[in-house]
């Protein structure tokens, strides 16, 4: 069975977010909430929720038109809309009675075989099914999403003793393949995995920071990088989720956890926090949190001082332990940062180790929960391995703490090992078992463990991913495109060309590529090494051209950011298989240049080939001009199609773990009777179009919408897109277009305005509006 239609009951932040994301998967969804007292519009809550979703930042919908897939209504008049729903997700008030009453009403209308789930984060499943018929208990499970549902990858599933197995597998497949979530099976215990450990970790960290006299900034700095925890640390994270939520979560855990659970002993509610909540300092959504930006003091960054309870300017962290790279070094450091890490992380790791198999069957599931739910780079057991199991045991003993049985079991070993190229984890029985990926998931991470690369250099590698398909992986810092990546593309063309079927360009970094390495470019420009810069532009053009005209299919599989030179790789591929979360665009104007590795040319060719555009020579040019000159970046793969960066035929994969497999399948499909594309020729209007664009930009400049240097950069772009000194009578080919790009690039890179933009971007990370 598959889910063809779904419903979400409760249109609060979580419910409406889940509904939006189901719509993102292309599945119709009913969204119902209660009838507000005395309201004229009985659907006001659900309808208002959809309006809010459309304005949400970050966006809840991958495309605004997805909102049309959401049918709104209320729980009194429209329950019969559930009749043909395959999955009904309840996300109403965290009150067992309210939920059970609703279930009883749902039970009356839903069809046989449909599945009901609850998004509860605190109420045990066994309480939710109390007093409900067997049919309900068999069709019921907990589906615990994280906020915001579109972006947070974790989906915790809890099945009850009576839940039928195929209901679980159906929801699992739906969550994984359609919604793109990482599924983690949990036992029916309070807080499941992620919040159980996460709440403990936050409390332990808050206690340790206050007891040991660390500042907000110090605690977050020590907590961050070495432990693979996002740089928000603890206090930054509380600001993000809302300080006012903390008492709710902790209260529910206090009431549901056993009295001897270690959490009960460490629970504290500092007076300062109470006061902050009362006064509305609840975090980013409130007047500020532990951090705030003081707009009255010229956007000064400030943080709360624990001693005074007042804001003060943010301080640079001087702790030596905060600058260390390895977690073991931090834990062993003598300064108060080290003491803080020992207290906060040490306790959290021990707590996690004591919870298997209480809350889940395996250490791998627990790790997955923390990685997907809290964006930790390493799960608790992976962290223990990095520190060393025996080191952790020794530290616990030295601190007079109890050593969990699972740690003792692992003594002298590690929780994970690689055996015959396969990743294995330690079971609670003390044996190692392979980590099994869901069917159809192909990860480069696993391939890299099992095989040696076909080729490798400092910034890229080439892997054999089976069935005659190779994968080109970027490995440079932030996957920025540099000469070594160019060299590897050339090398890949040679290797794949000799008897392999095709190539996937893919990596498992946090972003596909942030664009060209500007640090190299600006330094070369500052010392006037113009021939070197021009050669690197020409080399990039030649490399991307070779990729496009390679004798085998090339499929790019980008995820998250694919900017500038990273976008241009995708544009030169035969097809793209994109992760749904794709932020792709030609952003070069932000640093005062234009796309110089064939990006202008490729986007232009796509626009001209688009049959749905209005006729005449100008509309495609105008579209491309707007896209590039305003550095448009898609906010999803769907939107990238609208921008003309992806083709209508390009594929979208919801689950990042399935992206490589889908891209590989696409290569194999294209490899059947593959024909190398032909060099295209186009007719462009030349100076008339150029003049038109320049007039328009001059107008924007007068209106204050374009800066002085925008005018310079746009003029260079206009010259390229118009085809240079051509007119509609002449045909020009792709090489002429890239030559124009190169000339324009070289002109711009010599201007002070462009150099100032690059410098500003590299030093501040933000574009300069000069």
């Amino acid at each position: 069975m598959s889910i063809q239609k779904a419903a979400v009951l409760g249109a609060g932040v979580m419910g409406s977010g889940i509904a939006a994301h189901i719509a993102n998967a292309g599945i119709p969804v009913v969204l119902l909430d209660i009838v507000p007292k005395g309201a004229a519009d009985r659907n006001a809550i659900a309808e208002g929720a959809v309006q809010k979703l459309l304005k949400a930042d970050p966006a809840a919908f991958m495309h605004p038109r997805n909102a049309k897939l959401v049918t709104t209504g209320n729980l009194e008049d429209h329950l019969e809309l559930l009749k043909d729903c395959d999955l009904i997700i309840e996300a109403v008030l965290e009150d067992p009675q309210v939920k059970r009453d609703l279930y009883a009403r749902v039970e009356a209308v839903r069809k046989d075989g449909s599945i009901v789930s609850s998004n509860t984060s605190t109420i045990p499943l066994q309480i939710l099914t109390q007093g409900l018929p067997k049919r309900f208990a068999q069709d019921f499970l907990v589906t615990h999403f994280f906020n915001p549902p579109r972006y947070m990858r974790l989906l915790e599933l809890v099945a009850g003793p009576e839940t039928r197995p195929d209901a679980v597998t159906t929801v699992e497949a739906f969550g994984d393949e359609k919604l793109g979530k990482g599924i983690v099976h949990c036992k029916d215990t309070p807080g499941f995995i992620a919040n159980r450990i996460g709440t403990f970790w936050i409390q332990a960290s808050v206690n340790a920071a206050m007891d040991l006299g660390l500042s907000v900034e110090e605690a977050d700095a020590v907590m961050g990088k070495p432990f693979g925890i996002p740089k928000t640390g603890v206090f930054g994270l509380i600001d993000l989720v809302g300080l006012d939520l903390m008492p709710h979560v902790s209260k529910s855990l206090q009431t549901t956890l056993p009295k001897d659970d270690p959490y009960q002993a460490i629970y504290r509610a500092p007076e300062l926090f109470k006061r902050m909540i009362e006064e509305g300092y609840t975090g980013r959504k409130g007047k500020g949190g532990f951090y705030r930006i003081n707009r009255e003091a010229g956007k000064r960054k400030e943080a709360i001082d624990f001693k005074t309870g007042e804001y003060r300017p943010q301080q640079k962290v001087e702790l030596e332990s905060a600058g260390l790279k390895h977690p073991a070094e931090v834990l062993g450091h003598a300064d108060r940062g080290g003491a803080f890490a020992r207290a906060a992380i040490g306790a959290t790791l021990a707590y996690a180790a004591s919870l298997v198999p209480e809350i889940c069957e395996t250490v791998a599931e627990l790790d997955a929960g923390m990685k997907l739910g809290y964006n930790w780079k390493f799960g608790p057991f992976e962290l223990i391995d990095r520190i060393g199991v025996d080191n952790v045991i020794a530290a616990l003993k030295a601190a007079g703490k109890e050593v969990p049985a699972l740690l003792t079991l692992a003594s002298g070993r590690s929780f994970y090992r690689v055996q015959d190229g396969k990743l294995e984890f330690l079971t609670i029985g003390g044996e190692y078992q392979p980590v099994v990926r869901p069917a159809g998931v192909l990860l480069l991470e696993d391939i890299k463990r099992a095989t040696k690369p076909l080729a490798k250099n400092g910034s890229a590698a080439l892997w054999d991913i089976g069935d005659g398909v190779a994968c080109l992986e970027f490995t440079s810092k932030m996957n920025s495109i540099d000469p070594e990546i160019m060299a590897m593309i050339q090398k890949a063309i040679g290797i794949v060309g000799k008897g392999m079927k095709g190539l996937v360009v893919y990596n498992e970094g946090s972003n596909f590529s942030v664009g060209a390495n500007l640090g190299l470019a600006i330094f070369a420009a500052n010392i006037a090494m113009w021939p070197t810069i021009e050669e690197s532009v020409a080399a990039g053009q030649a490399t991307y051209k070779a990729l496009k005209f390679a004798p085998f299919p090339v499929v790019a599989a980008p995820k998250n950011m694919a900017l500038g030179g990273g976008c241009e790789v995708c544009l030169h591929s035969d097809a793209v298989q994109a992760h749904a979360e794709l932020y792709i665009g030609l952003v070069e104007v932000g640093v005062g240049v234009i796309p110089g590795w064939g990006g202008c040319k490729e986007l232009l060719l796509r626009a001209i080939a688009n049959k749905r555009r209005p006729g005449g020579p100008m509309p495609p040019l105008a579209q491309v001009f707007e896209t590039i000159s305003t550095a448009k970046v898609s906010r999803s793969a769907e939107q990238a199609k609208e921008l003309g960066i992806l083709r209508p035929t390009d594929g979208i994969t919801m689950n990042a773990d399935r992206l490589l497999a889908d891209a590989k399948a696409k290569v194999l499909a294209l490899a059947e009777g593959y024909k190398v594309p032909e060099m295209q020729k186009v007719r462009l209007p030349g100076s008339t179009a150029e003049a038109g664009f320049n007039l328009a930009v001059a107008d924007f400049h007068r209106q204050g919408k374009a800066t002085k240097h925008d005018v310079v950069v746009s003029a260079a772009l206009a010259h390229v897109l118009a085809g240079g000194d051509t007119d509609m009578v002449d045909e020009i080919d792709e090489d002429r277009l890239t030559e124009l790009e190169r000339e324009a690039f070289m002109t711009l890179v010599k201007t002070p305005g462009t150099l100032a933009r690059i410098e500003h971007m590299l030093t501040t990370g933000k574009p300069l509006r000069n």
Partner: protein, 592 residues
């Protein structure tokens, strides 16, 4: 005897023909700095330097400063010379009119300073240090303090000093121990010992204003915890000036600049005022240091000029043997030694680097004025960048060159150079300190590769590389310039490569940058001067047959010498740099 005539013709060439200095009078605040003013000021300065300072240079060296009961006496004639100097208005040349200064351009005071250093480097220390202290107070102190101190410092009635170094630390000022304790009335009690304090105590002025680095009680450790204080020798008292509780403990006995007092200064709860913000002393200190570093570079230039002029005169007068190719001056009993290739080589080595170095200094002097007065902020920023980039090069290259030139000058004199009465060995001794103080030349090289090169992603480099690159393109197509510009272009391309090499290597291993630093700085200087010599040729070529043809023909021949005989030193520097840090770093410490 050492001979000196102010090179006024040379100055006119630099200012009016090479750098078009009339441009500065188009910038707000410098309207009065017309070409006529430049020439008039330089002529007057030449007079006082030649007539007043030069005659007491040798005697000052012989006599030195004396120290007795905490009192320092400058050599005979110095007080009178200082009074004449002060009354002539020479202490206030580039000081702001608001404080009684004349507000003249820096590029002009650079050349006046050169003449002072040429004629009496020791004497120049007293007004020179006052200038550094003046700048620090002007840039950082409160208005009240500025009003109190700057007018009298500009007029030269009061002098100034910089108290940074302590017995246990010089380069690493984060380690200083001098303490400043707030009294509560806005003043501080300063306690500690400072050493190597030039002009710390003397009998030339009625008050001495010490700028002292010290730590406040709540100071964070390291260089972020130092503050700058104004501590005058005399305080205002009810019945007139009252002695502050500070004293000179002794003066140093040193190799050269003997007429400049180098003092140990003891502060014993001396009363001081905070100059600038608490704990921000390092920044204030850099204001002093930047001016001072350029000033030290000018010292190297000035002393070298005197050595060259003296050696030239000696080589023309001294008759010994005959030219290798046969008699050149049959009317004389022997040919002057000037006919010998090796003597000519020595003189041209001196002349080409002194004049090339001066071109670099005048260029940067004008850029300082641009950075302060140009109406366009982008131009000001660009000029400021260039000054910051070239400052360590001027300090280091001009003082190394100064020292080498004085040694070469002594060589031209043979045995007469080594004995005291000719004055050539004094120049060697005087010039030597300039390579050491205000940050040793090794520190300057580190400043260039470690701070200036990576600053703003290499933006400072742009201010040099872009105009030079553009000039090379332009000059390369002019047939008459090719013999000059092509070797410069080649060296410039090499400099680009090496800059990229050091930037890249230095990022992963700072020792790589450190090991390359000194050679890199010298390489950079040689390319810059090669570029400037080509420009000087371009200016000179059309004038070789005119009234002053000899001057211009001399310029072109000197340029040819520099380009063919000095610039190739870059090849050796390049080879050393490309060898990397390993040959420098691999030997075990114990094997030294």
């Amino acid at each position: 005897m050492a001979t000196y005539k102010a090179p006024l013709r040379e100055y006119k060439f630099m200012l009016h023909e090479l750098f078009g200095v009339e441009e500065v009078s188009t910038w707000p605040g410098l309207e009065d700095a017309t070409p006529e003013i430049f020439d008039a000021v330089l002529e007057e300065a030449a007079k006082i330097c030649e007539d007043v300072l030069f005659p007491i240079n040798r005697s000052g060296d012989e006599e030195g400063c004396t120290f007795e009961n905490g009192v320092v006496r400058t050599p005979k004639g110095f007080k009178e010379a200082y009074d004449a100097f002060r009354e002539g208005g020479w202490t206030s040349l580039s000081a702001h009119p608001e404080y009684g200064g004349q507000g003249l351009p820096h590029v002009l005071s650079f050349l006046v300073e050169e003449m002072i250093c040429s004629t009496n480097m020791s004497f120049g220390m007293y007004p020179g240090l006052t200038g550094g202290a003046y700048n620090a107070i002007a840039a950082h102190a409160s208005d009240e303090l500025k009003q109190k101190y700057l007018p009298k410092m500009a007029s030269g009635e009061w002098s100034g000093t910089m108290n940074l170094t302590e017995p246990h630390c010089g380069t690493d000022l984060g380690l200083i121990r001098t303490k400043a304790v707030p009294v509560g009335d806005g003043t501080y009690k300063i306690t500690g010992t400072k050493i190597f304090i030039s002009a710390g105590e003397h009998d030339l002025t009625e008050n001495i204003i010490h700028l002292v680095l010290a730590k406040l009680p709540d100071a964070p450790p390291g260089p972020r915890g130092i503050s700058l204080f104004i501590v005058p020798k005399y305080l205002d008292g009810d019945g007139g000036p009252k002695r502050n509780s500070l004293a000179c403990g002794s003066i140093e006995h040193k190799m050269g600049i003997k007429a400049s007092s180098t003092c140990v200064m003891n502060f014993d709860e001396a009363t001081g005022w905070l100059c600038g913000e608490a704990h921000k002393g390092l920044r204030a200190m850099f204001t002093m240091m930047n001016t001072a570093r350029l000033g030290v570079g000018i010292q190297g230039l000035g002393v070298a000029e005197t050595s060259y002029q003296s050696a030239r005169a000696y080589a023309q007068d001294r008759l010994q043997g005959r030219a290798l190719t046969g008699t050149k001056y049959p009317e004389k009993p022997a040919d002057p030694i000037l006919v010998h290739p090796d003597v000519r080589r020595m003189l041209l080595t001196m002349k080409s680097q002194v004049e090339g170095g001066r071109a670099l200094a005048v260029w940067i002097g004008k850029e300082i004025d641009k950075s302060k007065h140009h109406p366009d902020p982008a131009e000001r920023e660009a000029a400021d960048d260039l000054v910051a980039l070239i400052t360590p090069i001027i300090k280091s290259f001009l003082t190394d060159m100064g020292s080498e030139t004085c040694n070469t000058g002594m060589q031209v004199f043979g045995g007469h150079g080594y004995i005291r009465e000719w004055g050539m060995e004094q120049l060697v001794r005087d010039a030597r300190i300039a390579q050491i103080y205000e940050g040793t030349n090794g520190i300057q090289a580190l400043d260039l590769v470690g701070r200036k090169m990576p600053m703003h992603m290499g933006r400072l480099l742009r201010r040099f590389f872009h105009p030079v690159d553009a000039y090379i393109k332009e000059a390369s197509v002019k047939p008459e310039l090719q013999e000059f510009i092509l070797p410069v272009a080649k060296a410039f391309a090499r400099l680009q490569q090496i800059t990229g090499f050091i930037a890249q290597k230095g990022m992963s291993n700072p020792d790589e940058a450190g090991a390359a630093a000194t050679e890199y700085l010298r390489f950079f200087a040689l390319v810059a001067i090669g570029y400037l010599w080509t420009r000087m040729v371009e200016v000179s070529l059309p004038k070789v047959d005119g009234d002053d043809g000899l001057f211009y023909r001399g310029k072109i021949a000197t340029a040819r010498f520099f380009i063919t005989r000095i610039l190739p030193q870059t090849n050796a520097h390049a080879a050393a740099i490309m060898a990397g840090a390993k040959p420098v770093m691999e030997m075990e410490d114990a094997a030294f």
